[in-house]
């Protein structure tokens, strides 16, 4: 839609960024239309934004359950399919089964955490996206989307909080 404007502003101070975000909210730009890019992980709530809900713990839990069932299958079911009598031990002993089930559960937790976080972050994503290389040099980039009618007001707000390089975001192939 033509009446929606995309804008990027760079800040050097996190305090300026947080204050600018608060003021942008006050003039009517919703939280969903504001994205902050930083080169450092700021503490929760430092930039005045709400955190997204995560499915990761559930993905990990599902992974752990799958790994446990697979380990159970290998340690408890397959010895009956491929019988091997050793040292007077029963076909399925608790200690060996516990080791196998544990290891496969942990393997599944690790793999599901990795795949889960990539899925949550929508990675890999190499296409063009709004970005500025100064982000990794310590600048904070504020990405905004707002109706064109608010353009002057947004510019004034950003400038009043020492924003630099206010302009249309460059879409870079990441």
């Amino acid at each position: 839609m033509n009446n929606i404007v995309s804008l990027m502003a760079l800040f050097y101070e996190s305090t300026d960024t947080a204050e600018a975000i608060d003021e942008l909210h006050n003039i009517g730009i919703p939280d969903d239309n504001v994205v902050v890019l930083t080169g450092v992980p700021y503490p929760k709530g430092a930039l005045g934004r709400q955190l997204e809900w995560l499915a990761l713990p559930y993905i990990v839990l599902a992974g752990a359950l799958t790994g446990m069932l697979f380990g159970l299958f290998l340690a408890v079911i397959t010895p009956h399919l491929y019988r091997l009598d050793i040292g007077g031990h029963p076909q399925v002993g608790f200690p060996p089964a516990a080791v196998i089930i544990f290891v496969f559960t942990m393997m599944a937790i690790i793999v599901s955490t990795f795949l889960g976080v990539l899925w949550e972050m929508n990675f890999p994503r190499y296409g063009p996206a709004p970005y500025h290389k100064l982000v990794t040099d310590g600048y904070l980039a504020l990405l905004l989307e707002y109706p064109a009618t608010m353009d002057v007001q947004v510019h004034q707000t950003l400038e009043s909080h020492n924003a630099l390089h206010i302009g249309e975001p460059e879409r870079m192939a990441l």
Binding site: L47, E52, M107, V111, G116, L118, G138, L174
Partner: protein, 476 residues
């Protein structure tokens, strides 16, 4: 005397303290782009020394591959292994490498959970060490198979031979556990690397840009990305600790579940784990000293980091002595004939030189590391930690080879000495590890830049009485 004049010396003292702390708190006064450059620039400089080192290490690796090919062609008879010493230098080195791999998790996961800030500049070096050491360890079961092309028989899949891996065997647990730890430590290393790959992507061109762009996966540093990364690293940190404990426990059960004298012991699992931590931390300290000097990372790897690492090595060393003695006293008191013979062999027999080397190389460093001067002087720390790993390698040799030479059947006693094939293959893995690490340090940012920058956010100065002291904010 005016008040201003009275306060002047105090203010000067405070400004001295501030500048000292600024330095200690890792470049608090430096801009982010300066830190980026301080880490990236050494990666781009590869002088003649670097290429000479790569050439030497590559030559050793190629020679080791030739020896492995020779072993595959002519069979296991080319090694010194024979009845009753069926596990020899290969398994000794395998246990050693698995042990070395334990420092990465200790530093990265345990210290991350404990929020120990001094870990920040050294985590990546430790994680890389874990991954490369496990790669080297993973070669030994393959080498030890002899007929390496039959490796796939260990993978459980339905087949017309009606063969299936024996999941009751600790050797099978080993395979699965080491594979799990290798996957876990590699993914852990990679996950924490993504923001630094993006940083490197933003500051490079040519093949490096393509490489870093590929690894960065499109990272932009949005709040959501940071939040998810933190959550994933938190889960990894918790999950990888039991894996790290289980891996060396399982390696120890390879030995302990047999009825071989001196192996059949309940203390083997914690004894192996603590030995692994001891040797791994010592190896990490050695590597950090070398990398610090070769890549001029003195700003990041500072005396206080070596001091803290040295203290950890010291504690692990004391715990190792405790576990060793706890095992030894029970065996000595039991006075079983074969065990008595094995102890006699160690203390005053053929193995005595190795035994005293082990004891000296493992205990003298403990006495040395008590002194701060040893812990904070890179050269002395390097010498001390190298000594520890000589001791730990000898300890593995005594456990594996020393114990196998005597058993419950005296007619079946025998001795072992390695052949050129075994020595070459073992040298190959040492050179391979060093080669991987050398190349890694020039391609991947050795210091986790984003973690250092994050650490700087946590600190502030606070006045307590006459002093200005740095205090860390409890932030997530």
């Amino acid at each position: 005397m005016s008040e201003a004049t009275t306060n002047q010396p105090q203010q000067e003292a405070h400004s001295d303290q501030i500048s000292e702390y600024d330095e200690r708190l890792l470049l608090a006064e430096r801009k982010d782009w300066e830190i980026n450059q301080a880490v990236l620039q050494p990666m781009f400089k590869t002088g003649p020394g670097f290429w000479v080192l790569v050439a030497i290490l590559s030559s050793v690796v190629i020679w080791g591959l030739y020896a492995w090919g020779y072993l595959i062609n002519w069979g296991m008879g080319t090694t010194g292994k024979n009845r009753p010493v069926y596990w020899a230098l290969f398994i000794t080195t395998f246990v050693f490498w698995v042990g070395i791999s334990h420092a990465g998790t200790m530093i990265s996961a345990v210290l991350r959970l404990l929020k120990a800030d001094w870990r920040r500049p050294i985590t990546r070096g430790a994680e890389a060490m874990t991954a490369f050491a496990l790669m080297m360890a993973g070669l030994y079961p393959l080498i030890h198979l002899g007929r390496v092309w039959k490796f796939y028989w260990m993978i459980p899949y339905p087949n017309n031979r009606y063969m299936w891996p024996n999941f009751q065997s600790p050797l099978m647990w080993d395979l699965v556990a080491i594979f799990t730890y290798l996957i876990g430590s590699t993914l852990y290393l990679y996950l924490a690397l993504i923001p630094d790959m993006a940083m490197a992507r933003d500051h490079t061109s040519g093949w490096r840009f393509k490489l870093y762009r590929g690894f960065a996966l499109g990272w932009r540093g949005t709040e959501a990305e940071w939040h998810k990364l933190h959550r994933a690293l938190g889960i990894f940190s918790i999950a990888i600790i039991p894996i790290f404990l289980s891996v060396h426990s399982i390696v120890s059960w390879d030995f302990a579940v047999t009825i071989q004298p001196r192996w059949h012991s309940t203390i083997f699992a914690p004894y192996f784990v603590i030995g692994a931590v001891y040797s791994g931390l010592a190896a990490l300290a050695s590597i950090l000293v070398i990398v610090r000097r070769s890549m001029r990372l003195q700003e990041f790897l500072r005396a206080e980091h070596f001091d803290s690492l040295g203290k950890l090595v010291l504690v692990a060393g004391m715990a190792w002595v405790y576990f060793w003695f706890a095992g030894f006293i029970v065996e000595w008191y039991g006075n079983e004939p074969v065990v008595r013979e094995l102890i006699r062999e160690e203390v005053s027999g053929r193995m005595a030189p190795l035994f005293y080397l082990q004891m000296g190389a493992n205990t003298i460093p403990i006495a040395l590391l008590v002194f701060k001067r040893i812990r904070t002087s890179p050269g002395l720390l390097l010498a001390t930690t190298l000594l520890i790993n000589i001791g730990m390698f000898t300890e593995r040799a005594l456990i594996v080879i020393g114990s196998l030479q005597r058993n419950d059947l005296p007619f079946n006693w025998g001795n072992y000495s390695p052949t050129w094939v075994e020595i070459s293959i073992v040298a190959m893995t040492f050179a391979g590890f060093a080669l991987l690490y050398t190349i890694f340090s020039r391609i991947i940012p050795f210091v986790p830049v984003w973690e250092i920058k994050e650490g700087r956010l946590r600190y502030t100065m606070r006045r307590i009485g006459r002093l200005l002291v740095p205090t860390a904010a409890e932030i997530e």
